[in-house]
């Protein structure tokens, strides 16, 4: 049997449907690959029996009309998605052993399409981090290594670091991610894979552990642009259980794929040329511009004047929403409860002291402060006003262009431990990703090339509200032309 773990989701779908191999064979190979890669720490729970059961159902249904679009495809699921009866901890001690009696809408949609689950994927605690180092399970280790021969373990990006590593290492053909301020795109860039955050409201947030509700969006991570389109079609859709879900039909993104960009205007925002970014990043960006021009696009310079204020705006709004959302972890209804002396208040305080890690506490403290009496207007309301300006910047830019091209992150993957002592240095990693999150826009990272250390770098495409199709199409144009076929050399 050939190595099925090297195939894309589109290829697995084709091979399974034509009878070249069975869904069971796919699931067995992936289950074995996941078990053999535990040193990467990508999965927090493996669910091989789930993958096998879905595969058997797919094999039985083969040739019938009942076959879903993801029949025969096993996926990795970020630990932020509630999965019925399977540990869902958001990478936190405070949700230890939590087994939801319900299924998130996104994973239910994937199951309805026939997908199986290989397991739950490690992540930064409550999705707060850009390196996976805040996880209660310990960091995921990127499958990539620098070509200098040093073996420094590298960050897989975050917060969807288990997802990025699983897809890059061939222990899942695709995975779910979530993106609040770059948590799909930055890890995709760090590991040489694709990932798209759709327009806010495309994917239901119901059953996804909340971090910052006005920013949280689910999206797929996979090896190709086509695979992202296939997965996003299955994940998206209106859900009455999420009040911010968009009541719109899901476009046929896969059949709409076209890398012909004739007539498309691609904007290059001058404010994204920032100091202190390695040359490799700007070289990659220039190369991306050439690739899109080659695909027929017109390149125009644009301005997004409030770009430099996006990160500080985000680091008021996201912690504020987080402090409110995370108030629910009180040791009463679910999760862990700490032993404490004294009454109810002492129990809450002890439970939260023991259950939350340092970064989560830091953000709850910041959020509590900026929402507290006397400071609310100076911080929170101010940030929401600047957020309006950031959104307006994009609206004005999209009068001159149809798409925006930027680097995804200001560097390649850094070594674990490099930035964990300095919160602001860590936050700066999302400098290019956060503006699109604040504006609710669809944005994607596709691999563009390798840096001088042999590590992958990503290019980001940002589209108009609801225009995932143009984002995917430009991603495809880059994918077809960049010729990125580098894979991490197996050491695990």
């Amino acid at each position: 049997m050939s190595d099925l773990t090297s195939l894309s989701i589109a290829e697995l779908r084709e091979g399974f449907r034509s009878g070249e191999f069975t869904a069971r064979e796919v699931a067995e190979q992936y289950n074995a690959a996941a078990a053999a890669a535990r040193s990467l720490n990508a999965y927090t729970v493996e669910t091989p029996e789930d993958a096998l059961a879905s595969a058997e159902a797919a094999d039985k249904a083969r040739g019938s009309d009942a076959l879903g679009s993801l029949a025969g495809i096993p996926l990795g699921i970020k630990d932020l998605f509630a999965t019925r009866g399977v540990d869902t901890t958001a990478g936190s001690r405070i949700l230890k052993d939590f087994k939801p009696p319900y299924e998130s809408t996104v994973t239910a949609n994937l199951r309805k399409a026939g997908a199986g689950m290989l397991g739950k994927l490690n992540m930064d605690e409550f999705a707060m981090g850009s390196s996976n180092e805040t996880s209660a399970y310990g960091p995921v280790i990127s499958p990539w290594r620098r070509k200098d021969g040093g073996n420094a373990p590298l960050a897989p990006g975050g917060s969807s670091g288990g997802s990025s590593t699983a897809v890059a290492a061939g222990i899942a053909p695709g995975a779910t991610g979530t993106d609040t301020g770059g948590s799909i795109r930055q890890p995709a860039a760090f590991t040489g894979i694709c990932g798209i955050k759709p327009t806010y409201g495309r994917c239901s947030r119901w059953g996804i552990v909340s971090f910052a509700s006005s920013l949280d969006q689910a999206g797929p991570m996979a090896r190709t642009v086509r695979d992202c389109a296939i997965l996003l079609e299955a994940m998206a859709g209106f859900d009455p259980k999420d009040s911010t879900s968009l009541d719109l039909p899901v476009p046929n993104w896969e059949s709409g794929l076209s890398s012909d960009l004739k007539g498309k205007r691609v904007g290059i925002p001058k404010e994204y040329r920032i100091d202190g970014v390695p040359d490799d990043i700007n070289v990659l960006w220039d190369r991306g511009i050439e690739l899109l021009r080659d695909a027929g696009a017109d390149i125009v310079e644009i301005s997004l004047p409030h770009t430099k204020y996006a990160l500080p705006t985000y680091y008021i709004i996201a912690p504020a929403e987080a402090s409110s959302n995370l108030a629910r972890y009180d040791g009463v209804r679910y999760g862990a409860r700490a032993e404490s002396e004294g009454g109810l208040d002492a129990m809450y305080a002890a439970t939260r002291a023991e259950g939350f890690g340092a970064e989560v506490k830091r953000r709850i403290m910041i959020g509590t402060y900026v929402l507290s009496a006397g400071f609310y207007d100076a911080y929170f309301t101010k940030a929401q006003r600047v957020r309006s300006l950031i959104k307006r910047d994009f609206e004005q830019a999209f009068e001159k262009c149809d798409l925006i091209l930027t680097p995804t992150a200001p560097s390649a993957a850094f070594a674990l431990g490099d930035k964990s002592a300095d919160p602001i240095a860590m936050y700066l990693n999302d400098v290019f990703a956060v503006p699109a999150s604040l504006a609710g826009l669809p944005a994607m990272s596709v691999p563009g090339g390798l840096d001088s250390d042999g590590l992958p770098l990503g290019l980001q495409l940002i589209g108009r509200e609801l225009d995932e199709q143009s984002v995917l199409n430009a991603g495809l144009a880059i994918e077809e032309r960049a010729g990125f076929d580098a894979k991490p050399k197996r050491w695990w």
Binding site: T244, P312, S323, R337, D345, A353, R362, M365, I366, V386
Partner: protein, 95 residues
Amino acid sequence: MSVSPEQVRHIAKLARIAMSDEELERLVPELNNILGWVEQLEEVNTDGVEPLTAVVPNQLRLREDKVTDGDCRDDVLANAPVAEHGFFTVPKVIE
């Protein structure tokens, strides 16, 4: 603006997170660093700019006023750290 150790103690109390004196001391400069950094927003002229409330224009929906859920007490209690007689159990509140 910068926060004092007393303010940090107060925030921790509001956030219901128990903290040792050493932890509080460590957090004071950390929080001040972050607050000092976000305060660059003061440079931005936001006169006449409405705070953003919905990132994508969307109408809040109403649904029919009828029961759609319930009868799942055991499910609701299944993950409770302590539950007795069909209730969540907490430390004694009333003497």
